[in-house]
Structures are given as structure tokens and as C-alpha cells.
């Protein structure tokens, strides 16, 4: 920051000086006011709830009874979202920071940013009203897809090694993110075509009945797996963006050293780049977790909102955010249920705020470390 000279030069008229003083005062007052207003959120939630907690208006049993299913639902939804989002996001980040051609990368990054901006209500609508009934009808097909996609990618890698060098140059690994798309699309369609035969052969034509009788699993149409898929889709781009930043921020001299000694790019990444960037990748996952915990509309529309506590990924749940959205407009201010919901909001706030702060601290440390590593080389 640069300070203007405190001693006013003779050219400065008193009016300009006064105006400057006034404006500075206004900026200071306005800035502090805005920042306080923004920070007031935490204070408001605490003021509403803490007295009730200490005066005993909210008993321990009441809190446990009404909040634990919601907390469980929140964690379950977030967990499954991360199960889908983290591998995809980290895979994509690794690919685009190490292998992808710069031209493709400059296109793919904004595209995934757009994916992050898709409104939750649209994703929730498609997942809840289109995907969930579809998966219910094509259960085998959906499970087959989960299995076929990774196998298909590996198959593509295997076939690629057997191809002629000319063809391999046409389809380089640097552009694999693009030319694998039609291949995966074809595989997906093929596996959907074959799924009924598979179902007839393995599960006597009725996977749902088989799950029920053989494993005792009850399949709910709106379940944690669908929530995880939809929310994973929503969370994945933000994890990707942060992880990609961390990976491509590693000073290139580190990786170059490893490659000069004969390591493949994957070995370089796994042994050198990833350990250096690990805190940043961790921070990315944390921020993803924060988003998954707080996402409201997707859970509201896809999870079925039944407050059940079960481990099964094929059953629904109700999350804190969805509970607040449904119940708070009807709750009478000051009543027990109102205060419980505010408590839920406070918990959400604290959780996300702490997670984000942790991630932010980790990231700023990491940035300093990169600068040091870059200097040494």
C-alpha cells in the first residue's frame, strides 16, 4: 500500500484536501460497515441459539433426537458426493495439468467452470425426475455403466498401445480427454443394450427382486447413490479447479529433474509433483466437502427427504440444509423447532467456515512453499 504524502504540497487546494479526507473517511466507514455486515451472519446465528442452549430451553435429548438424523443425512450425502466427485476431479486435474495439450486445456478449463455454475435446481430436477426413475427401470444398466466406464477407459489405453504409430499420433494422449468422449458414449449405449440380457442371465431378469431376496437390500428410487452422483457432478468442478491450480503451480524444475533422470510422466507426477502439491489437493477436497455439506436444492429434490438413518447407499436421507429449507418457513419464531433449525444453520455455518479457513491456510502456506522451491532452483 502506498500512502500519499502527509504534508500537503503548496499546489494542493484546501477544497481538494477536504474532499480527499471526506472520501477516505467514507471509504473506511463503508468498507468496515460492509465487512461487519457480512461477518454478522455468524454472530446472528450464535445470538439466536446460544442463550437457549445455556438456559436449558433446548434439552440435550431434544437436540440429539431431532438433529442427529439430519446430521447423519448430511454426512451421508456429502460422503457419496465425494466418492463420485473426488476421483473424477483429481483424475481430470492430473490429466489436464500433466498430459493435456495447452490448447485443449484452455478450452476445457472454462467448460468445467461453466459446469460449476449450473444452478443446483436444474441438476436436482434432472437427477430427481429424470435420472432416478430411469435408474430404477434400468438398474442393471446403471450398475453396468459404473463398471464399464473405467474398464472401457483401460481398454482404450490397451488398444492404443497396439495401434500403429501413425494412428497413435493422430490420437495422442494429450487430446485423450476429447477423443475418449465418443468412445465412452458408444460403450455406454452398448452396455445399456446388453444390460437386459445380463440381467436375465445373472439375476433371473429382476435385479431389484434379487437385491431384496438375496441381500435384503431395499431399493428406494431416490437414494444416496443418485444424490451422490448429482451432487458429485455439482461439486466436481470446484475440486477440479483448485486441485488443478495446486498441481500446475508446482515449480516445473522439480518435475523436469525427475523426467531428466528417466522417469515417465506418471512416475514424476506420483513421486514428485503430487507429494509437493498434496496440501493443495487436500484443500481442494476440503472445499469440495464444504460445498457438498451445504448444497440444498439437489438434496432437497433427489433424496426423498425421509429422515431415516441407515448405512445403505440405496436408501434416502434428509440433510440439514434441506430440513431448514422445508421447515423453517413454517416454524414460529422463538419456538423450539425454530431454534433447532437455527442451530442446524449455525452448525452448517461453523463447519463450512472452519473447513474453508483450514483449506485457505493450507493453500497460502503451499503458495509460500512453491515460491521457496522456485527460488532454490
Amino acid at each position: 500500500m502506498i500512502k500519499p504524502l502527509s504534508a500537503a504540497p503548496s499546489t494542493r487546494s484546501p477544497r481538494r484536501h477536504l474532499l480527499d479526507r471526506l472520501a477516505t473517511g467514507l471509504i473506511v466507514a463503508g468498507g468496515i460497515g460492509v465487512i461487519l455486515a457480512v461477518l454478522a451472519i455468524g454472530a446472528f446465528l450464535a445470538i439466536e441459539v446460544v442463550p437457549a442452549l445455556f438456559s436449558g430451553a433446548l434439552s440435550q435429548a431434544q437436540i440429539t433426537l431431532s438433529l442427529s438424523p439430519l446430521a447423519w443425512g448430511t454426512l451421508k450425502a456429502a460422503f457419496w458426493a465425494l466418492v463420485f466427485a473426488v476421483p473424477m476431479a483429481l483424475g481430470a486435474a492430473i490429466h489436464s495439468s500433466v498430459y493435456m495439450s495447452p490448447r485443449l486445456r484452455s478450452r476445457v478449463k472454462p467448460t468445467l467452470e461453466l459446469m460449476e455454475a449450473l444452478p443446483g435446481v436444474v441438476i436436482g430436477f434432472v437427477a430427481g425426475l429424470v435420472l432416478a426413475p430411469w435408474v430404477e427401470r434400468h438398474l442393471t444398466g446403471a450398475f453396468a455403466l459404473l463398471l464399464v466406464m473405467p474398464l472401457g477407459i483401460l481398454m482404450a489405453g490397451g488398444v492404443w498401445r497396439l495401434m500403429s504409430p501413425a494412428l497413435r499420433q493422430r490420437l495422442p494422449l494429450a487430446w485423450a480427454g476429447l477423443w475418449l468422449v465418443p468412445w465412452l458414449g458408444m460403450l455406454g449405449l452398448a452396455s445399456l443394450e446388453l444390460a437386459p440380457w445380463l440381467e436375465a442371465w445373472l439375476f433371473a431378469g429382476d435385479l431389484r427382486g434379487w437385491l431384496d431376496t438375496e441381500l435384503g437390500i431395499d431399493y428406494a428410487s431416490r437414494n444416496a447413490l443418485i444424490v451422490g452422483l448429482a451432487m458429485g457432478f455439482a461439486v466436481m468442478p470446484s475440486v477440479y479447479a483448485l486441485a488443478e491450480d495446486a498441481l500446475s503451480g508446482v515449480p516445473s524444475s522439480l518435475g523436469e529433474g525427475a523426467q531428466a533422470m528417466g522417469a515417465t510422466r506418471w512416475q514424476t507426477l506420483w513421486k514428485v509433483v503430487l507429494p509437493a502439491a498434496a496440501p493443495g489437493v487436500f484443500a481442494a477436497v476440503m472445499i469440495g466437502a464444504g460445498r457438498a455439506v451445504g448444497e440444498t436444492m439437489i438434496v432437497l429434490m433427489v433424496s426423498g427427504n425421509a429422515a431415516v438413518m441407515s448405512l445403505s447407499p440405496l436408501e434416502g436421507m434428509r440433510s440439514m440444509a434441506a430440513g431448514i429449507a422445508i421447515e423453517l418457513p413454517e416454524a414460529v419464531p422463538g419456538s423450539d423447532s425454530y431454534q433447532l433449525l437455527i442451530l442446524a444453520a449455525l452448525l452448517l455455518f461453523l463447519f463450512t467456515f472452519l473447513v474453508n479457513t483450514l483449506a485457505e491456510v493450507v493453500r497460502s502456506r503451499l503458495r509460500r512453499r512453491y515460491r521457496r522451491l522456485g527460488d532454490v532452483s
Binding site: 500500500m1 502506498i2 474532499l19 480527499d20 472520501a23 477516505t24 471509504i27 473506511v28 468498507g31 460492509v34 465487512i35 451472519i41 446472528f44 446465528l45 439466536e48 481430470a92 490429466h95 498430459y99 493435456m100 476445457v108 467448460t111 459446469m115 455454475a117 449450473l118 444452478p119 443446483g120 435446481v121 436444474v122 430436477f125 434432472v126 425426475l129 473405467p150 483401460l154 482404450a156 489405453g157 504409430p165 480427454g177 476429447l178 475418449l180 468412445w183 465412452l184 436375465a200 457432478f233 466436481m236 515417465t264 510422466r265 506418471w266 464444504g290 451445504g294 448444497e295 440444498t296 429449507a325 423453517l328 418457513p329 437455527i342 452448517l348 455455518f349 467456515f353 485457505e360 491456510v361
Partner: protein, 536 residues
């Protein structure tokens, strides 16, 4: 030797990267595939809704005949192994005759399916669509004289004359309807207000009575004509023409005609209000509500966001405390939006709104004026929600401005205010714009906090009209995102609502995507420009 070395270099293969590299590449491909799939689905379904699809006349093996639009086809849950049997869903309309509008039919049972040109589809103000045949048009003057037997006389131009008459009559009715709406919306309200102020004003009273008489007259002349219609299985109904909103003969339309009808359908969707419990009609009030709310929010968030960023970056002492505040503000961008909604409900609606009601609108209590969700509280809540976005983006822009620009301005004798307004802020404009656009995009797509602070399922009055004070901040409003949620999850007939939901979702996605693309290009521009600057 050198040639061999070159060819050796050419054919030299790097060691394989192993399976993990491919899995990583695959996850890029998979996420692109998912994104493309989602966008295609929404675009195709959302735009397909307006296409005047053909109506087929279906005959079943038991002799039952019905007319309908094929919607989709599914494999039958086969009891005896995979038989490959399929069933098809038809939209048959005629809710008043049949009591239902959908019909599932096993494909195997269909003995004949054709596309007769004379089938008409009428969009009605009550009971939804009618699908069937037009028999005759009865007009007031020529009672009973049919203008041309349409029926199943068949042939190439089956009932064309009747159809033309119907179209003429309908456009006449449309003109009358437009006149009536004009009178009701533009002429009546000012008269009513003048009467409220001065109940004894004779001239106004007379004019009001005249206008009401005129409206009644228009209403009557709209109801003089009627169409006699027949469903394909021979049941007749008589429909006065003021109930018919639109009519078309999908099987007789050529491709350009269909395209034209499609365009007009899109136009109506954007400009009309919803009908039939939000499952039909357009989304104009929702568009208006979304845009108005976002604009109000921008008015609030732009000055305050920039002010806070300028304070943090240019004025405040850059110590540990400022750094902590900066991190906290940044983290607030990651706090779930529903928490902001809770804050808005507790502080704005119940706190400030409740107090305003007690002080200024106490004669209206206990029914709340500002003490319930409304436009103002929604914009304030969203402004708070998007403040961190604007602050962070503006600060990024300010940081990128090299210090020597500021030093130069100060060295030439500028005060801090002059340095800020003439040098620093103009350079940071693209960054501020980026922040604003990102904020608007986020606010446009955000639904969860609005559910707590003022969105409505159906708000017939838009929050802006010709009545003082023109902008009604306390009114509830409709929102595109909430429209998607509510129509999709709280309707009676989800099947019928789906096309509207798809179209609304498409509109919302388009708005958000366009805004984000603008932000991305702007940011690119900022980076390029300041990259060039800092090299000086």
C-alpha cells in the same frame, strides 16, 4: 547414420504411462460427456415442447379408437422373460370427456395408426387441450347454418372451409380479447383510483360504468360464436370461441409452418403468464421477477462490494488483522446459501421487517406488510450472499494494478481520491465487471435462500405496475429457479408439467451460461491487459 538416428528418434517410443494415466484422461472425457449429456437433454426436451407434433389416429385390436400424440415408448415389464414387448404413452387431451389426458397402450395391440389431416388440436382456457375433429362453426347471425361439413368427409382438404372460418372467427375473438384486456388493465385502474380519492366524482363514476358496460359487451360478443367439435370416437362438444386460445392442425402443416408455429410457441412461452397450476402457459412473471430481483441486488452489491474492496486493498493498514478479515470474507463465499437464507429470514424479515410493520403499517397488522418475505428482503439477502464474490474479484483486479501507476499519480500531486478515481478504479473496471457478472450469475441460479425470504409459487401481480409507488418492494415475486422446483415437485400431474419444467430449466441455464461466458471473456481480457501492463 544420421538418417538412421532420425528415424530411430521418430520411432522411439516413450515408456508406457500405465493404466492410471488413462484413467485420468478418462475422467476428463467422462465429465465432458456428462455435461454434454445434461445440456443436450435439457435443450432437446425444452425446445421440443414447442414443436407442433403430429397427432395419430390409433385403432386398437378391441375396436377402441383414440387420437393422440405419441410421447414415449418403454419396454413392457415382461412377466414371461424378455419378450421385447413395448408400450407407448399417448397424450390424448380431452380431459373433460375422458377424465384423463394420458393413455398407455401396448404396441402389440395397435392394429392401425394413421395421421389424418383433418385432426385439430385446440388449446383451451379450461380442461387443457382438445384433440379431435372440427364439425362446424356456428356464428350468431347464421344460427345453425354450418359453413361446410368438415367431419370425416375426408379427401384431401377435409374440412378446409370450416377450418378457414374457424381461423377467421378466432382472430376476430383475439382482437376483442386484446381490446378487453387493454380496457381492464389500462383504463379501469386509474378510474378506480380517482374514485378512491374522490368518491363523489360523478364524471368518473359515469366513465367507469361506461367502461364496464363496454367490457361486458365485448365479453358477450366474444361468446356469440361457437365451434362444434367431435372427438374421434364420436362424442360432440360445443365450445364458445372465447375459450379457444390457439388451434392448429399438426398433420396438415408443412415444415415451414411448423417452424413458424414453433417460433410463436417460444415467443408465447417468454411473454405469457402461467396457466393450469403452472403446468401450461408461459413464464413471463418468473422472468420478470428474476430479472428485477437480480437488478435490485446488483444496485446494492456493486457500490458496497467495490467500497469494501477498495478499503481492504487501498486504505486499510496491511497488517495481520486485514489479512484475517480478507480470509474470512473469502470464506464467506463458501458458506452454504441456505445459511444466508436463515439470516435473511431472521434479521431482515422478522427483525427489520417486523419493526417496520409496527412503526409504519400498524393499522394493517396482524397481516404483515414487510414482516413477511418479499422482493426487498430477497434482494438484500442475495446481495449479502454475493458480496464476497464481488469483493474478492475486485480485490484481485486491484492487486494486479502495478504500484508504479499509483506512485506516478501521487508524484504528480494527486490526492488519494484523485488517484483512486482517475487511475486505479478505471483500470480495475473489467475486474469489477467480472465480479458483478459472477455475482449476477450466482444470484440468478440460487433458489434455496429465496424459499425462506420471499419467492412465491404464483404471484399474479408482478412487483412493478402503474400504481404508486410503482415498485412494490414488499410483494412476493416469482423466480425461474423456484418455478422449476415447485412445478416439478408440487404439481398434481408431473407428466403434464415436465415440458414446461424443461423449458424453464433451459431458460435458466441459458441465462447463467451466457452471464458466465461473459465473465470468462472479461477475465481473459483483464489478464491480457494487465499482463501487458506489468511488463512496463
Amino acid at each position: 547414420m544420421s538418417l538412421a538416428a532420425v528415424t530411430g528418434f521418430r520411432t522411439w517410443q516413450p515408456r508406457g504411462e500405465g493404466p492410471w494415466a488413462w484413467l485420468a484422461a478418462g475422467s476428463v472425457a467422462l465429465s465432458l460427456l456428462l455435461l454434454a449429456g445434461l445440456l443436450t437433454l435439457i435443450a432437446v426436451r425444452g425446445l421440443g415442447h414447442f414443436w407442433p407434433a403430429s397427432v395419430s389416429l390409433v385403432e386398437l385390436d378391441d375396436g377402441q379408437v383414440f387420437a393422440g400424440r405419441a410421447v414415449r415408448e418403454l419396454p413392457l415389464p415382461a412377466a414371461d422373460g424378455a419378450g421385447g414387448a413395448r408400450e407407448r404413452l399417448y397424450f390424448t387431451g380431452n380431459r373433460d370427456l375422458d377424465g384423463h389426458v394420458w393413455q398407455w397402450v401396448a404396441v402389440a395391440r395397435i392394429t392401425a395408426s394413421e395421421l389424418p389431416r383433418e385432426l385439430v388440436v385446440l388449446e383451451r382456457s379450461r380442461h387443457g387441450d382438445f384433440i379431435g375433429r372440427l364439425v362446424e362453426v356456428v356464428t350468431a347471425g347464421q344460427q345453425g347454418t354450418s359453413v361446410g361439413e368438415g367431419g370425416r368427409g375426408g379427401g384431401d382438404g377435409g374440412g378446409t372451409a370450416t377450418w378457414t372460418t374457424l381461423q377467421e372467427r378466432l382472430s376476430a375473438v383475439d382482437a376483442l380479447r386484446a381490446e378487453r384486456d387493454e380496457l381492464q388493465q389500462r383504463v379501469i385502474p386509474p378510474l378506480v383510483r380517482r374514485l378512491e380519492n374522490d368518491p363523489g366524482d360523478r364524471a368518473t363514476q359515469r366513465r367507469l360504468a361506461e367502461t364496464n358496460e363496454r367490457i361486458r359487451g365485448l365479453q358477450e360478443s366474444m361468446q356469440t360464436d361457437a365451434a362444434v367439435l367431435e372427438s374421434v370416437d364420436g362424442r360432440r362438444i360445443v365450445l364458445t370461441l372465447d375459450e379457444v386460445l390457439r388451434s392448429w392442425r399438426p398433420n396438415a402443416m408443412s415444415l415451414p409452418e411448423k417452424l413458424g408455429a414453433w417460433g410463436r410457441g417460444v415467443g408465447r412461452f417468454l411473454s405469457e403468464g402461467p396457466r393450469a397450476a403452472n403446468t401450461a402457459g408461459g413464464v413471463w412473471p418468473a422472468i420478470f421477477g428474476t430479472v428485477l430481483m437480480v437488478m435490485l441486488m446488483s444496485l446494492l452489491v456493486a457500490p458496497f462490494g467495490v467500497l469494501a474492496a477498495v478499503y481492504l486493498n487501498e486504505v486499510a493498514h496491511q497488517g495481520r488483522l486485514t489479512n484475517w478479515v480478507r480470509i474470512a470474507v473469502r470464506n464467506l463465499a463458501g458458506v452454504p446459501s441456505i445459511v444466508y437464507g436463515v439470516f435473511g429470514l431472521g434479521v431482515f424479515v422478522y427483525g427489520i421487517g417486523g419493526s417496520i410493520d409496527e412503526w409504519f403499517f400498524s393499522d394493517e397488522l396482524p397481516s404483515p406488510t414487510f414482516g413477511t418475505g418479499g422482493l426487498l428482503w430477497a434482494s438484500l439477502t442475495l446481495a449479502l450472499l454475493t458480496l464476497p464474490v464481488v469483493i474478492v474479484a475486485t480485490e484481485e483486479g486491484l492487486v494486479r494494478i502495478p504500484d508504479h501507476q499509483r506512485e506516478g499519480a501521487l508524484a504528480l500531486g494527486a490526492t488519494r481520491l484523485e488517484m483512486l478515481t482517475r487511475v486505479v478504479l478505471p483500470m480495475a473496471v473489467p475486474a469489477m465487471l467480472t465480479g458483478m457478472i459472477l455475482a449476477v450469475a450466482r444470484a440468478a441460479g440460487e433458489v434455496a435462500p429465496l424459499m425462506l425470504v420471499g419467492v412465491a409459487k404464483l404471484a399474479p401481480q408482478v412487483p412493478m405496475d402503474g400504481e404508486f409507488p410503482f415498485l412494490h418492494l414488499e410483494r412476493k415475486f416469482m423466480h425461474l429457479g423456484y418455478h422449476v422446483y415447485d412445478t416439478a415437485f408440487h404439481g398434481d400431474d408431473i407428466q403434464a408439467a415436465m415440458p414446461v419444467v424443461y423449458a424453464t430449466a433451459l431458460l435458466l441455464v441459458l441465462v447463467v451460461v451466457v452471464l458466465n461466458l461473459t465473465a470468462i471473456f472479461l477475465r481473459h481480457y483483464v489478464r491480457a491487459r494487465h499482463g501487458a501492463l506489468s511488463r512496463h
